[in-house]
């Protein structure tokens, strides 16, 4: 299958390894990858801040660029939810409404694509350590991506998966919220990290780098030895 990989803006700049890991995994499974140069951001920051017209400027370009893609894979529950759930709302009553609905149906969050579209759970990955999974809220509640990442992690050799009590509790990132209300965002991050610490895990894994960017920033600042890693990076290790 020809897979169109959409590596969101901040992951492109700050977390290139996630995209590289996905290319490795999908190529190993025999799929052809394309990464359109001109697709950069899903338009969510403007959309979530209420600037829907400014957001549409970005989203129209994404719609155009991904018009012919067979399957679009995004390594982020949040950006995935933007395409799958919020593009149809954003373009409701607009000329691009049909295109938005069509793209939504062809778009997949990375773990869901592997498990639900390709039917793969065992990628032959090896990763030593104890890990707990953080459900990003958009993936969990907008896309209902609860089981896929866990089914993939359960098959990783050497990895012990433990659930934290606050697995489904928001980490406090929330996009521009993290900068508009930094102290609330930080408090929420602390609650999350202490729940992860209670499990004795070495790693906090997630399918959303945006949550991990916030949590790792907090962990580093507080000298907490817990480490964060994107699901794709775990699955690419052999």
């Amino acid at each position: 299958m020809k897979v169109t990989l959409f590596v969101p803006c901040f992951m492109d700049a700050c977390y290139p390894k996630v995209g590289i890991s996905i290319v490795e995994i999908l190529e190993r499974l025999g799929h052809e990858i394309e990464c359109p140069e001109e697709v950069v951001c899903c338009g969510q920051p403007a959309f979530n801040s209420g600037y829907w017209e400014e957001s549409r400027v970005i989203c129209r370009k994404v719609l155009k660029q991904l018009e012919r893609a067979e399957a679009v894979v995004i390594p982020s529950g949040s950006c995935g939810a933007m395409l799958k759930v919020f593009y149809p709302e954003l373009f409701k009553g607009e000329p691009e409404e049909a295109a938005a609905n069509d793209l939504a149906a062809r778009t997949w969050e990375f773990s869901d694509f592997l498990v639900k579209r390709l039917g793969v759970t065992d990628l032959g990955a090896k990763f030593e350590g104890k890990a707990t999974f953080h459900d990003g809220c958009h993936g969990l509640r907008e896309l209902k991506t609860k089981d896929s990442p866990r089914r993939l992690l359960e098959k990783v050799e050497g990895l012990e998966l433990v659930e934290m009590e606050a697995a489904e509790t928001c980490c406090g990132f929330g996009g521009t919220f993290s900068a508009k209300f930094p102290m609330i965002s930080t408090a929420m991050g602390e609650v999350k990290c202490s729940s992860a610490n209670e499990t004795g895990a070495d790693w906090m894994v997630s399918n959303d780098s945006s949550c991990l960017m916030h949590l790792q920033g907090l962990l580093d600042r507080q000298g907490n030895p817990l480490k964060t890693i994107h699901l794709a990076e775990v699955l690419a290790q052999r």
Partner: protein
Amino acid sequence: MSSPVSQFKTDATAKAGDLRHRGLIQTALRKYEIVRDVRKGAFQDWEQARQSAAETKFFAINHLDTHLVEFAEKLEARGTKVHWASTASQAREIIGGIIKQKQAKSVVKSKAMTAEEIHLNPALEKLGFEVVESDLGEYIVQLREEAPYHIVFPAMHLTRAEISDLFHNKLGSPETHSPEELTMIARDALREKYITADIGITGANFAIAETGMISVTENEGNARLSAALPKTMISLLGIEKVLPKLEDLALFLPMLATAGAGQQITCYNTMYGGPRQADECDGPEEYHVVLLDNRRTELLADPEQRDALHCIRCGACLNVCPIFRNVGGHTYGTTYSGPIGSVITPHLRGLQDWKHLSNSSSLCGACTETCPVKIDLHHHLLHNRRNASAGKPSVLERLAYRIYAIAVNTPGFWGLGKRIGRLAYPFARFFSGTIYDPARAWTKTRDLPPMPGQSFKEWWKERNR
């Protein structure tokens, strides 16, 4: 007085870092979650129950005009005086007028968020009446001269020791940390008030159109005493409280108890349908029902957010909200806190003054997931943000998003941005977290994300060269 937004930011910053508060609230609400889940398990199918409840409320609200008239006519047929209040001040005048006319001196009141919404107590006190809250939690916050902390648990922010000190100082009772003894102290003080009160005021959990009755749910029996002992009873309720049929309570009473407090059913559930009838031996001689609009009809006129009127004020969305759990109820600075408060307050009190509550959310959706009547809470926060920006955009923010749109839509621009970011990155640590740092909001408590030498797109290009 500071503006709502600056008050919110100041209080939120203080409370979010208050580890004692955090521990208290997180512990209490974790216990709630455990018992709630046990009670949810007692339903044959909780999700189906939510769906039924949402459909019932949808029908109730979408036919509010006929339901309200039916409700009022049934009540009036049994001698109740029904009053229609468009605004908070009208409601206060109506209630104050009844009390004046009765030449009453003291009023005993059971828990009613609608009364908080219209600031009834201060208005009545200004007229010279003594108003005593009879719900234990409400009584405690009244003695502390503060607003309820939570829709359902008004005093959940206080420890036994703090309540003991309060009673000791205000009522002269001996110090005790026993919840039973503390309850008895309040009970002794309150019993006297019930007996001497001329007027009893209650709220309502539901208004049954079919039978013209209000349903009041409580755990302490205080609402029953507030309603039964004084000669005149007044119930104040929002017009959205309507349920079409009596049998709807079969679902809504256990649902409210489960979602609100993790109870199978609340201890006392009472129906009031009018004053004492000729063949009855007790009940008030006069019964007044005050139906409050206070801009609810504006919400009704908004098809996108009309479902916010489904709310049964169970407080479940507050309990699961990570924002509420970290900033607490008082920080919101308005009667209805938590997700439902952030959704409806802009409608009740003005969007531009209260839009910050909709911005102060990570949009995690835990509220929507838990709401027993399926209000699309977190998406309404997005809608409020959209409406606020459309109505009065921030010039700077809009400009920033316009520039951002150009940057991400132009590959050369984006590539250049990454290169500049990489060049600037090593210098960031020199002013990280200081007032000169443009990313201070982030770096004050968090390290910056990494900025590797090669981006994904650069890697991809190089690989496919």
